[in-house]
Symmetry: C2
Subunit: 337 residues, 2 copies
Amino acid sequence: MITIKEIAKQLNMSTTTVSNVIHGKEGEVSEDTRKKVKEFLNKVDYVPNINARNLAQNESKIIGLALKARADKYENLIMDPFVSELIGGVEETIRNAGYFMMLYISSDIGEIMRHVSTWNVDGLILFGMIGDDGIRVSEKYKKPIVCIDTYSIEGLKHFTNVGLDDEQGSYDMVSYLISQGHRKIAFLSDNQSGVDFARLTGYKKALKDARIRYSSSNFLQIHPKSDDLPGSLEEICQRSKEFSAIMCVSDLYAVTLISALTDRGISVPGDISITGFDDNMLGQLHRPALTTVHQDVKVKGVTAAATLLKQLRGQRTANQIKLPTKLIIRDTVRKIN
Amino acid sequence: MITIKEIAKQLNMSTTTVSNVIHGKEGEVSEDTRKKVKEFLNKVDYVPNINARNLAQNESKIIGLALKARADKYENLIMDPFVSELIGGVEETIRNAGYFMMLYISSDIGEIMRHVSTWNVDGLILFGMIGDDGIRVSEKYKKPIVCIDTYSIEGLKHFTNVGLDDEQGSYDMVSYLISQGHRKIAFLSDNQSGVDFARLTGYKKALKDARIRYSSSNFLQIHPKSDDLPGSLEEICQRSKEFSAIMCVSDLYAVTLISALTDRGISVPGDISITGFDDNMLGQLHRPALTTVHQDVKVKGVTAAATLLKQLRGQRTANQIKLPTKLIIRDTVRKIN
DNA sequence: GCGTACAACTTATGCGCAAAAGTAACCGCC
DNA sequence: GGCGGTTACTTTTGCGCATAAGTTGTACGC
């Protein structure tokens, strides 16, 4: 761990001179010494001590990525392929810009913000974290924050959001189902807030535009918490006769549901049509391949990171970015009449 | 961002005193002042500046997790549910021990080690990174390193490895297939090194113990790189008639293969039996549910992190830890005679 | 009543770096 | 030939923290 001081000593010059060539300050140092220093730096494989640099500069070159931990059947949000892809996009973008990524998995925003504070993190990306309560906590730290997929009204006032045109995606899917002759279409989700609410809204809108009445009995709730899952699945399968199609709020739920239906001898799409949302591996590898709404999760991560980076550079950004969706027609929807 | 200095000033005492109560140094400070300081600390919500602390202490409380990026059909290793789970396990363990996690995704070990060096990372967990070449690079940094799933001979000499009893898992699976009457069993993988080699070895051993001859034509190679995948899949499906069972080296490949077979009208397990390895979501949600070998990936991450933490505390650890596997019998293997 | 021991502090130093402020030599110009 | 301007440096300072070294004050023993 050689230091600037040591280098300066060995080269018989001041630390400032060494520091200046490290930072490529033109005109502050002669071509001659510059060369000498550069050679030496290469030889000894100098690496700056980031702690010292950060302390002196009051910055950190760290971007935090905070994911809300979720205790359910899949134990933890991070297992979802969605999250892996997101992390990949964020990490890549950040690294290319010379930043580093620190990952937190926690549901306690207070805890997260304390980390942010100790590390003097330059900016933060939040996924699934912002409840209206979290906003007060995060606001006082005065750090640029970009949220992913939040629909919190309060949050949107204060932070940039990178999201998806969930409503449109959902609308397109339901319209497609209707075009295939479906009229009794259920909506399956585990809650009615955030992204799920937006997708539900798109669903309702499409029904309305087709003059199909929405009833709350069309809303099927899945309980992903380990204990309740089999029970809710059983109930949903029972009630599946009432519908010709079930639109699921995610690929994960769609595939889970199809498995449960298959186990009970109900065929997809023979007896009932099922659709997903997200378009991940799960549905792509499934047979019949899942009809779903595509979103590019990696781009979501990249966009979030790029937006944050822009803000760090002092540039202004839109405070609401909506990525487009695309309808992917595969084999889990049957045309009926 | 209140500092110790500021606190000391407001409390009319020296920074050392404040620092002492922060570090809970008994006997260095009176009960009275201790109380006063603690109250004040709470009031102002003091958070230490980690950069300053690390600089003074020459440590970092950071543990790096480096993942090898892989350019294939799934773009990047991180998409695999395997990796998500691993990250989850590592992060949780590290955070509970008061450490922080920095995530790198890169295939350049030199780059990684440079990061490690600038940040003065306390320890490193490497997944999929150690080729014999990487070892020289990493060795000179003299940091505790724990590898996950490496089979590099050189690496094992220098670093601790947390792995799986891949050979045994594979052996158990093939033995099971044989017990179900299978004799023409192919092995599907994308390479013959590392984990794949160990699984292949277990496969060969089981064949040998059952007096079935192994021929290299039993080895089916899949090319996960985006361009080659369809071609290799086509070839594998063609050749599937030669076998009554194909043991795949991962759930991902198993499910991918089953999809390809299904698309060609070949039924699983009717026409051919297929098995996986890993036991992740993909196979669990698949119908027919995948017969596979279970490994607890989260435990792998937890174990790796815990082992590294031990080393940081100066404790000795075994330099080879093998987690057990478990045969999971589900529905993709048919009994034949 | 003096030395010793100890409790409860404070002062001073250094970690490695960046940058502000200082210096010294030289050039050209009226 | 004195002065402003420039080049190529060096010296100094401070970021926030931990800690070694120093300073009181007081109780105790003999």
